[in-house]
């Protein structure tokens, strides 16, 4: 509602200011519960720096999947926004379908692009066929959220380092009368934690255009999930309900993306919240998938002024002060050196909970896209399968893996 009002005000302001040669660009982003505050914090400084650019916010996407979908539909209907924020693993289909545009011409025109803090490793998340198509805006990694009050009450002193530790902690807590020891965020975008458990074993979910769900590593991942769900007797909470429960102080341990940290802290009840590194199989995970989103240029306008304005906005939100707001308002890390090292120098010291994900940065791996047109449907297959483990509908993991492989094969381009 706030955004509709903002948008309406902006439209009015824009129409009143045509005489002053204002340029209006349209923009859409996902997850309003995480990012509303971020963009609100950014806007005043942006308006001051670029008074002739009006940013019109479109309705937010509910999730990354919804975002991709909306853009695909808008491409058919011919009303694409100028800039859109897309999940890191949803960029590829938009590039393949020619909806997202290469940013190389703009980058070539920038004199000190490197100096603005964009560096190779982060840009690689959005580079396809040697060209940059997106500027990463926020990067997240899975972490553990711990309610220390509940952990202490349940007799746990040390944060778990492996999944076996987690299960042992669950049992101790249950024995000490804690009803709801854990929420393991399997349902985050449907496939991210699957990729997290695979990368933990240094296995990619897509190799040479093949989905590797038939690998022994997948079976290990599924069995590990089953063990966590059954041994901990985890409740099957919808993720929004789970975040609400955790914030209210009802859940002891929550494994989720660091991105929600800002939102959780804002609605946090009276307890001590500590984040810890994502547990692994034996010791530390060998890799973890990068979550988050990137800004992509999808403008269909021929007007160089609009395109230039879109680029200015794109650059503003992903570098310098703009990017620093990401860290300040959410739990995401800005994928921008300058923002991380200069502007946020003492920020992480004051916010140790947000430091956890930064410490895990060496483990950062690609959040992989599934080949072909059916990426969203493949994600749904993974989601449905894991859900069957959570609800106890599937008990034989080998059988479940087989079913998953068959269903996914149907959806692959050569299937």
């Amino acid at each position: 509602m706030k955004h509709t009002t903002t948008a309406m005000v902006l439209v009015l302001a824009a129409s009143a200011a045509i005489a002053e040669d204002k340029v209006t660009i349209e923009f859409a982003y996902p997850y309003s519960h995480l990012f509303d505050v971020t963009y609100e914090a950014m806007m005043p400084a942006f308006k001051e720096a670029h008074p002739n650019i009006e940013v019109k916010f479109r309705a937010t996407y509910e999730s990354y999947e919804d975002g991709t979908n909306t853009v695909l539909r808008e491409a058919v209907a011919g009303n694409l926004p100028d800039v859109t924020m897309q999940g890191l693993n949803r960029q590829q289909p938009l590039v393949e379908k020619g909806i997202a545009q290469s940013l190389e011409p703009f980058i070539a025109a920038e004199a000190d692009f490197e100096k603005d803090g964009y560096h190779e490793a982060m840009l690689s998340l959005s580079t396809f066929d040697g060209e940059v198509y997106g500027l990463p805006f926020s990067v997240s990694l899975p972490v553990g959220y711990y309610n220390m009050d509940i952990l202490r009450e349940g007799g746990i002193e040390e944060l778990p380092r492996t999944w076996d530790d987690v299960i042992a902690a669950c049992k101790t807590m249950r024995a000490n009368g804690i009803d709801n020891p854990i929420f393991w965020g399997w349902n985050i975008t449907g496939n991210w934690f699957m990729q997290a458990l695979l990368w933990s074993q240094d296995k990619a979910i897509v190799e040479n255009g093949n989905v590797t769900l038939d690998s022994p590593e997948t079976l290990v991942a599924l069995e590990q999930m089953q063990e966590i769900f059954t041994e901990c007797e985890m409740q099957n909470l919808e993720w929004k309900a789970a975040l609400a429960s955790f914030s209210a102080g009802d859940i002891g341990m929550m494994f989720w993306s660091t991105s929600a940290l800002g939102a959780v802290e804002r609605s946090q009840g009276d307890f001590e919240l500590v984040t810890g590194p994502f547990p692994g199989f034996d010791g530390k995970p060998m890799g973890l998938p990068a979550g988050g989103n990137a800004a992509m240029l999808t403008s269909t306008s021929d007007d160089p002024k609009v395109r230039e304005a879109a680029w200015t906005w794109l650059k503003y939100i992903t570098s310098g002060e703009g990017a620093a707001e990401v860290a300040k308002t959410t739990g995401y890390m800005p994928p921008n050196k300058a923002a991380n090292e200069i502007i946020l120098a003492d920020f992480y010291e004051q916010n140790p909970n947000k430091q956890t994900a930064v410490d895990q940065l060496p483990l950062l791996r690609d959040w992989l896209a599934y080949p072909g047109d059916n990426g969203l449907a493949i994600t749904q297959v993974i989601y449905d399968s894991i859900e069957r483990v959570v609800t106890g509908d599937a008990t034989d993991m080998k059988e479940l893996q087989q079913e998953m492989v068959e269903e996914v094969a149907d959806l692959l381009p050569n299937g």
């Binding site: 539909r73 349902n187 099957n236 309900a241 047109d373 609800t391």
Partner: protein, 321 residues
């Protein structure tokens, strides 16, 4: 002869003109119907034999593959189970409650208007907004429903096994539990829908002639039940057929609650994966237009046959002209 012929011709031209005017007058309606109803149905029918994906330039013909999947995959089996569970539960209960409420209100007079408003409120409220309110109430730990149930703990109410179990091991997750999810959706469907049926029955009741009751009483139908069985129920026949058909179609169309509760997946284990949601998920969320169209065609077939049955019943069985 000649005179007769001329008369016949004038009559024929007059008839022609009349027919032309008739066609001319119906043309806008016909055109609109063809354009916004029949053409999309035909397009969906054609697409259901392809693997078209939104945004692609072309598609391949896949024959009946989409339909074959529809009847062989376990996902769609869950879809049929969820849809029919919903229809079979919601239709009789919401029709029954609607009739019961209408009969009670009919006998109340003035004060009935207040109840009429109360029962009709959920119909007027947007189901989507209501679903969000329900979502808060049904939250497993901080929701109103489970908090209220928890108040029964430690009282004599614990003799009820459901309460005793809940107090010992936590009350149901409602939306997260595959044994409860579809029933929650059914409950909300009934809560939301029966007020509408009640209004239809109230209208039907006003059309029943008072004299029929007096006549029945004179013929020896003394009890209220007898009067209901012999007069009210048969007189409400046409209304009932209409109410049941409308309720069936509305039940097949259930979507808002499922979408609001489980935007991804359609309930725990797809236990609330109703047809409309499947169409939305395949065709809109995942861009699998071919599969979405196939489910749509099946959905149309169901609704179509319901409408035909209704027409047949109205014309044959329950007409007291």
């Amino acid at each position: 002869m000649a005179v007769l012929d001329a008369g016949a011709i004038t009559q024929a031209t007059a008839g022609n003109r009349e027919a032309r005017t008739a066609w001319g007058l119906t043309a806008p309606a016909l055109l609109l119907m063809v354009l916004i109803l029949l053409v999309p149905v035909v397009v969906a029918g054609v697409l259901s034999f392809t693997n078209y994906s939104l945004g692609n330039a072309s598609f391949d013909w896949v024959g009946a593959e989409n339909y074959e999947r529809l009847f062989t995959r376990s996902t769609y089996e869950k879809m049929f189970i969820a849809t029919f569970t919903y229809v079979v539960t919601v239709v009789p209960i919401s029709v029954g409650l609607g009739l019961g409420a209408a009969l009670l209100l009919h006998s109340l007079g003035r004060i009935g208007d207040i109840y009429k408003t109360i029962y009709f409120l959920p119909v007027m409220a947007t189901l989507l907004a209501m679903a969000i309110a329900w979502e808060f109430m049904l939250h497993p730990t901080i929701g109103m429903v489970n908090r209220t149930l928890a108040m029964a703990c430690g009282t004599w109410l614990e003799v009820v096994p459901f309460v005793a179990n809940g107090c010992a091991g936590g009350f149901p997750l409602w939306l997260g539990d595959r044994d409860y999810a579809i029933w929650v959706v059914c409950f909300i469907g009934i809560w939301q829908g029966f007020g509408f049926n009640m209004v239809l029955y109230l209208a039907g009741l006003t059309a029943v002639h008072r004299e029929l009751y007096h006549a029945a009483e004179m013929d020896g139908a003394k009890s209220a039940w007898e009067r209901f069985r012999l007069v009210t129920w048969p007189a409400l026949g046409p209304t009932t057929v209409f109410v049941v058909t409308i309720s069936c179609i509305r039940a097949f169309q259930v979507f808002d609650t499922v979408e609001a509760f489980w935007p991804q997946g359609g309930g725990p284990n797809k236990s609330a994966y109703v047809m409309m949601f499947a169409i939305f998920e395949k065709g809109v969320q995942q861009n699998l237009i071919g599969m979405g169209s196939a489910i749509t065609m099946l959905f149309l077939a169901f609704v179509m046959s319901l409408t035909l049955i209704q027409r047949w019943l109205v014309e044959r069985k329950v007409h007291y002209g």
